[in-house]
């Protein structure tokens, strides 16, 4: 499913977080956010459920 956040959605999200957003910024931020969510849509088809979402994996040498 392709995300289709509107400027109203984005304005509401920003307001909930206390982030000031100008009308000009709002339009572009909406495009950027939709682009990101859409770009990651193909990940939904991958078997990711069994993968732990960690940045540091077992091959790391011990830090201390």
């Amino acid at each position: 499913m392709v995300s289709d956040l509107t400027t109203d959605h984005v304005a509401a999200l920003a307001a909930a977080l206390g982030l000031p957003i100008t009308p000009d910024d709002l339009v572009e931020v909406t495009h950027r956010l939709n682009a990101l969510v859409e770009a990651l849509e193909p990940l939904a088809a991958l078997p990711l459920e069994t993968i732990e979402p960690t940045a540091r994996l077992a091959d790391e040498p011990p830090a201390s």
């Binding site: 984005v10 999200l13 920003a14 977080l17 206390g18 982030l19 000031p20 957003i21 910024d25 572009e28 931020v29 495009h31 950027r32 956010l33 939709n34 682009a35 990101l36 969510v37 859409e38 770009a39 990651l40 193909p42 990940l43 939904a44 991958l46 990711l48 459920e49 993968i51 732990e52 979402p53 960690t54 940045a55 540091r56 994996l57 091959d59 790391e60 040498p61 011990p62 830090a63 201390s64």
Partner: protein
């Protein structure tokens, strides 16, 4: 400026260190040479935010006195270098390229700066960058950095000044910071060598953060051996950065000349032959593979199926980290950010957590794929960027659709972010020029903590070609 002076300025840091050690060049003379070049050229290039002539000359005089006393000299002794203005410098303004920090003066040096100074380096100044090392700055608060190969073109970022200053010989070598390509991209666009070390190899202490799991300082130089020299100085455990590794730091210069005979090189198909890669770039990178074969390496095409999504995966994770760092200022000082930075951080602040977690899982999968390939290949090879440096104006164009946003932000990042996501070392090395005279760069990636093999392969290629010896037209 005499031709001899320019020739000296363009020598590599290692060569200059030898000349200083042999008393053929004075650190004071060398420092003044670079200060003169900065004075003459940087008004157009805008590599520097802050130049430190008095402090640099004072350090140079101390370095010269040590030479004259025949003291034991550190490997970097008397070499003028410069650093991205993301690294704290005691008593020297450190802006991170932002008006928000334009009056920020740290009390202490970043670990990397302290180590470079301890190795004998002479700090010339602080280098320009995209705001807060994020990329996408529209109006640079401290001047628009320009590519010395063509002033109308982008020098790359976020370590923009670090690439320019090395390419234009405004310092002998520089330090940048690479979260998702911020050392390798300017190295690529400016035609110099840029090294992203293994994550955890170099301390991040005293560097303004973007992403805790991907940020790493990295050197830029006019040769692979200069990158090795700087890495040697900055690598190793730091109690101030608990995520640095205690793994021993090898002698990176020792194996540089061992060649590539017997090395197994995997050519990443999706990045080298993909539709986004410009033909001139593809051809130059294929020529690198052929050259390495000629030197005795075994090459084959390999596939990383998730690589085309790496740019978006990176932005879902690193940008979200950055949004957390900036949350307070976004609420209270939003107007003080550059428009491009502010919009990127606002976007990142709103990424749904489900999307972030999916990206984190995909990161782990991509990382596993890369480590699997690196178990069977010593080095992976691909373009550093899908194109040569684009015009500055292209980065300033308004974004009016989500398609434009995707093209602007994800495509190019998919070339440099795989190594960041996997935590592996990677190096950008010049490998040719476009018909319009802009540099092209090849990227090599190696196993974690195996910078020695990475540098060895890059050095062998560099020695067999000579692309690094060309000088930009704007630096005569």
């Amino acid at each position: 400026m005499t031709a001899a002076g320019a020739d000296l300025a363009f020598l590599g840091a290692r060569q200059l260190a030898g000349l200083v050690r042999d008393r053929k060049v004075s650190p004071v003379e060398l420092t003044q040479l670079y200060l003169d070049r900065i004075e003459r050229l940087d008004g157009r290039l805008r590599a520097y935010i802050t130049v430190l002539p008095e402090a640099a000359l004072a350090a140079a005089r101390r370095a010269e006195a040590a030479v004259m006393r025949a003291e034991a000299l550190a490997p970097f002794h008397g070499i003028p270098y410069a650093v991205k203005d993301q690294f704290d410098t005691a008593g020297v303004r450190t802006t991170s390229g932002s008006r928000i920090l334009e009056d920020h003066v740290p009390a202490a040096d970043a670990t990397t700066i302290a180590r470079l100074n301890a190795a004998g380096g002479i700090l010339l100044g602080k280098l320009n960058l995209t705001e807060f090392a994020l990329g996408g700055t529209q109006q640079f608060p401290f001047g628009q950095p320009r590519n010395p190969w063509n002033l109308d073109h982008d020098p790359g970022g976020s370590s923009s000044g670090s690439g320019i200053a090395v390419a234009a010989a405004l310092c002998a070598a520089s330090l940048g910071e690479d979260t998702g390509g911020s050392v390798r991209s300017p190295a690529s666009f400016c035609g110099v060598v840029g090294l992203r070390p293994t994550w955890g190899r170099v301390s991040r202490h005293g560097s303004f953060p973007l992403s805790w799991s991907m940020d790493t300082p990295g050197p830029l130089g006019r040769s692979v051996e200069d990158a090795a020299l700087l890495l040697q100085a900055i690598a190793g455990y730091d109690p101030n950065d608990p995520l640095t590794s205690r793994a021993p730091v090898p002698d990176y210069s020792r194996a540089l000349g061992d060649g590539v005979r017997g090395l197994r090189v995997g050519i990443i198909r999706e990045l080298t032959f993909g539709a986004d890669t410009q033909p001139e770039v593809r051809d130059a990178v294929v020529a690198v593979a052929r050259k390495l074969e000629g030197l005795g390496a075994a090459t084959e095409e390999v596939s990383l199926r998730l690589v085309p999504l790496a740019g978006a995966i990176f932005m879902a994770l690193a940008d979200a980290d950055g949004a957390g760092v900036h949350h307070r200022w976004l609420r209270t000082r939003a107007a003080d950010y550059d428009q491009g930075t502010r919009r990127r951080l606002l976007t990142a602040s709103l990424i749904p957590s489900a999307v972030q977690q999916r990206a984190a899982r995909a990161r782990a999968l991509l990382r596993a794929e890369m480590l699997d390939l690196l178990a069977r290949h010593d080095v992976l090879l691909c373009p550093t960027a899908h194109q040569a440096a684009p015009p500055i104006a292209a980065a300033r164009a308004a974004i009016t659709t989500r398609h434009e946003a995707a093209g602007r932000f994800f495509t190019r990042r998919s070339y440099v972010t795989p190594a960041a996501l996997a935590g592996t070392p990677a190096i950008a090395v010049p490998c040719g020029f476009t018909r319009s005279g802009l540099p092209i760069s090849v990227q090599l990636i190696a196993r974690r903590f195996d910078e020695a093999t990475l540098l060895r392969a890059a050095h062998a290629y560099e020695q067999a070609t000579g692309w690094s010896k060309r000088r930009p037209p704007e630096t005569a």
